[in-house]
């Protein structure tokens, strides 16, 4: 296995990608799970398909198109939500379906044979290019700096944004920064698990970590480690079996979540019995 990594560049790229996406997915995943924004993230991910289609149609990097669509969907949905109360799930649904429809339309408009977009929809960690890697490295760096450096502010904001507003913090700006980070994280994850499975890589490591610790920073660290475990497992299964990396990562992650859940339930029950 190690020999293969040393020998093949695509495996080296895939391994570096696993580390990068685990970092962003762990940090942002815990935030979206705590903030109950998993469905919003799903909406942003699916909207980005429009950008992938546009990239193919106009001949530029599809991930750049995904970036533009994801950021527009994230900030646009927040803007509309702030002006119209009580319609957030409807806005998510509209962006979600509009993005997918545009993607299908743009790809249909491409003359000749349509391109193979399977790797964008379902992910293929083994097909990461140098440009993809550079983009993911930049995204990881941005997410890492913004979350870690201002960790105390984020914790206060996530618990009670109203209180941080009263204190004089620029809560609306923080909210938009957070949505921007979610959007770029989605873009970083597309090559690994695909648009359809992005929310799984964001929510499963975070949810598994939440079963094991009740400290926010430890949840983030554990979510990063779980993400790393899932992606590396998916990478090697995919490399040796040619199965879709995204599907393998998600199914393995789900299995780990279930085992962790049952394990923690069992330990709680044992402790209760001992206490009696």
């Amino acid at each position: 296995m190690i020999q293969d990594i040393l020998k093949y560049q695509y495996l080296q790229y895939a391994l570096i990608t696993s580390v990068l996406v685990s970092l962003v997915a762990g940090l942002i995943g815990v935030i979206i799970v705590e903030k109950k924004q998993v469905m919003l993230t799903g909406g942003i991910a699916h909207t980005s398909y429009g950008g992938v289609g546009l990239g193919y149609l106009l001949g530029f990097e599809p991930l750049l198109g995904a970036f533009i669509f994801a950021v527009t969907a994230a900030l646009g949905s927040n803007l509309i939500k702030n002006r119209m109360t009580g319609v957030s799930d409807v806005i998510i649904a509209i962006f979600w379906s509009l993005g997918m429809s545009l993607g299908i339309l743009f790809i249909g408009l491409i003359p000749g044979y349509p391109p193979d977009v399977t790797s964008y929809l379902f992910g293929n960690i083994l097909s990461v290019t140098t440009l993809n890697l550079v983009l993911m490295a930049i995204i990881t760096l941005i997410v890492l700096i913004v979350i870690v450096v201002f960790f105390q502010d984020w914790r206060a904001h996530l618990f009670d944004p109203e209180f941080t507003t009263i204190r004089g913090k620029r809560t609306k700006l923080m909210e938009n920064i957070l949505l921007f980070l979610i959007a770029i994280t989605v873009v970083a994850l597309i090559r690994v698990v695909g648009i359809i499975l992005v929310i799984a890589l964001l929510s499963i490591p975070a949810a598994t970590a939440s079963l094991l610790t009740r400290k926010l920073h430890l949840r983030m660290i554990l979510a990063v480690l779980f993400g790393l475990m899932f992606t590396i497992f998916g990478l090697f299964i995919s490399a040796y079996t040619m199965l879709s990396s995204g599907a393998v990562i998600v199914i393995f992650g789900f299995a780990v979540y279930i085992i962790t859940y049952l394990g923690t339930r069992y330990l709680i029950r044992v402790k209760k019995v001992e206490a009696v």
Partner: protein, 247 residues
């Protein structure tokens, strides 16, 4: 008694719904004001507008004669608990410490010994110092309310605004919270929104009966009688007079 907050002709609308209409109110230093009224009568809106959370309003609000930013007024706020995520992974001490994060230059902020000391002092004041390491998901309703009061106190406020601090709390905890607020009223100005009319009537120095605007204000016993002799909860009716009934 100096004038801390002066509200003139305050109108707040949420779309077409009028939450507050032509409201005039003076909050003086050292006052303990209770606000009662039916649900949807604008009580929480009034507190949120004072705090600057509601930006769209007509009328004027001055704080020590100037704007909120320019005034040296520190306002503590205890929100309704149903607005918060009780399962959030954070301890009692960490919640109160959030009041100590500096407004600027908060990058890589580590709480100082002074921060911990001040937080411990307020936790002792509200009776939570022994459970400061506990997660908020393990707190009772009463303990959680006391925690939110402690966080507000950590700002060293001149004035404390409380929005239904005894809602969804058992009777024993309600009494403890009222005793705590009574004690705090000797140190700072208190404005409390509540549905526990009898309790607030016994404690407050002034009671306000609010339904979009102030229908009655003054001596708590008299306002209580006024409010409960009239039909409460009919929000669509016009107030009998634009003049506030001072009783």
């Amino acid at each position: 008694m100096s004038n801390l907050i002066q509200i003139n002709d305050l109108c707040v609308k949420y779309g077409k719904i009028e939450a507050l209409r032509d409201l005039n109110l003076t909050i003086n230093e050292g006052e303990y004001i209770g606000i009662i009224g039916a649900n949807g009568g604008g009580k929480s809106t009034l507190l949120k507008t004072i705090l600057g959370l509601t930006k769209q309003y007509k009328g004027t609000i001055t704080y020590n004669g100037t704007t909120l930013k320019k005034s040296n007024l520190s306002i503590g706020y205890v929100p309704q608990t149903n607005e918060l995520n009780r399962m959030f992974p954070i301890t009692v001490e960490e919640v109160v410490l959030t009041a100590k994060i500096p407004l600027k230059k908060s990058f890589f902020y580590r709480y100082s010994d002074e921060d911990h000391k001040e937080v411990n002092t307020v936790l002792e004041k509200v009776g939570l110092s022994k459970i400061k390491e506990r997660q908020i998901s393990d707190l009772s309703g009463g303990e959680f309310q006391k925690l939110l009061i402690a966080r507000a106190l950590a700002l060293n406020p001149n004035i404390l605004l409380l929005d239904e601090p005894t809602a969804m709390v058992d009777i024993k905890s309600q009494k403890q919270i009222y005793t705590l607020i009574k004690r705090l009223s000797r140190e700072m100005t208190i404005v409390m929104v509540t549905h526990h009319v009898k309790d607030i009537t016994k404690q407050a120095g002034k009671l306000i009966f609010l339904e979009r605007n102030i229908l009655a204000e003054g001596d708590p016993e008299e306002v209580y009688k006024y409010a409960y002799l009239k039909p409460v909860g009919v929000l669509n009716r016009e107030p009998r007079s634009r003049e506030v009934t001072r009783v």
